[in-house]
């Protein structure tokens, strides 16, 4: 486990790359989903 996390000395590079990708991709799903919830709330108030 420890040696795996070390990534043969390239740990900062490998984990930063995967980390940035993870944050951007998850953000690109969470933010529109959150916008959708807000949108539904405002539309409900406007229409019903």
């Amino acid at each position: 486990m420890q040696t795996w996390l070390m990534m043969g000395g390239y740990a900062p590079y490998v984990w930063t790359a995967f980390g940035v990708v993870g944050v951007v991709l998850i953000g690109n799903m969470v933010v529109p989903y959150w916008q959708y919830r807000v949108l539904l709330q405002t539309l409900k108030k406007e229409i019903i």
Partner: protein, 251 residues
């Protein structure tokens, strides 16, 4: 066949389709992504030249692949939208541009993080990197132009024209490693003569590319769903849908 195709031109039908496409794509995504990550980060052996740093390939290549594929999708949607005047295509196009811009950003960032230990530099103005940066500017130009014009119908048309002009850049990116003498390595997956990658390294990469396609699909649909609601909020079907949603909850 035609009625099925026609349903893609109708915002209310497509909106309902999104509602069950999203969970379906997510269920499909999870095992493929899990295999790609475990295979890439753990099961695949370290590269004999690059050691474990090569594992960045499992996010870099899918991001770069998607950045170009999504641009082709953006151009196709823009073309269909312009020729047949389909509003839904423009809404999909705008979402595609947003997701495409982020994936281009990821391709550039992961490339820089990979470049530092391997090439000794974060950035170099070589053909592959510069043309990929131009792709980011094309996406950002599309989005900026679209946001700058208050008349959305006009915005759709003008930014679509920009998207179509930008297609010239796609073959330049793809062949940049062949046409110019660049620091970036050549193609690995699409070589016809002999495979340049071993199966235990290749299969997780293929899985990650498929996973990124599914992820991009999910992100595009999530954004399109919002775009449809924003533009169609005055339409009768939105009201009906909201009413039925509310009565379902009560019942």
């Amino acid at each position: 066949m035609w009625s099925w195709l026609h349903s893609f031109a109708s915002a209310p039908i497509f909106f309902r389709r999104i509602q069950y496409l999203l969970p379906a794509l997510s269920v499909l995504l999870l095992p493929i992504l899990a295999y790609g990550l475990i295979g890439g980060l753990y099961l695949a052996p370290a590269d004999y030249q690059q050691g474990d740093a090569f594992r960045i390939i499992y996010v870099h290549v899918p991001s770069a692949f998607l950045s170009m594929s999504l641009y082709m999708l953006l151009a196709t949607l823009s073309f269909i939208g312009l020729v047949w005047h389909i509003k839904l295509c423009f809404m999909l196009a705008k979402s595609t541009a947003m997701v495409g811009a982020w994936l281009t950003f990821l391709a550039l960032v992961t490339g820089a993080i990979w470049g530092k230990p391997m090439w000794g530099t974060w950035w170099i103005w070589d053909a592959r990197l510069t043309s990929e940066l131009l792709l980011l500017f094309l996406y950002m130009g599309y989005l900026a132009l679209h946001n700058a014009l208050p008349d959305k119908q006009k915005a759709d048309k003008i930014s679509s024209v920009l998207a179509l002009i930008g297609v010239v850049n796609i073959p330049i990116i793809h062949y940049s490693v062949v046409w110019w003498n660049t620091l970036h390595q050549g193609a690995t997956m699409t070589r016809l003569d002999r495979p340049a990658i071993e199966a235990s390294m290749r299969d997780p990469l293929l899985a990650m590319i498929v996973a990124f396609f599914l992820l991009a699909g999910i992100m595009i649909l999530l954004n399109t769903r919002n775009e449809i609601l924003r533009r169609e909020k005055k339409a009768a079907w939105v009201k009906q849908w909201l009413m039925s949603k509310a009565s379902c909850k009560r019942g």
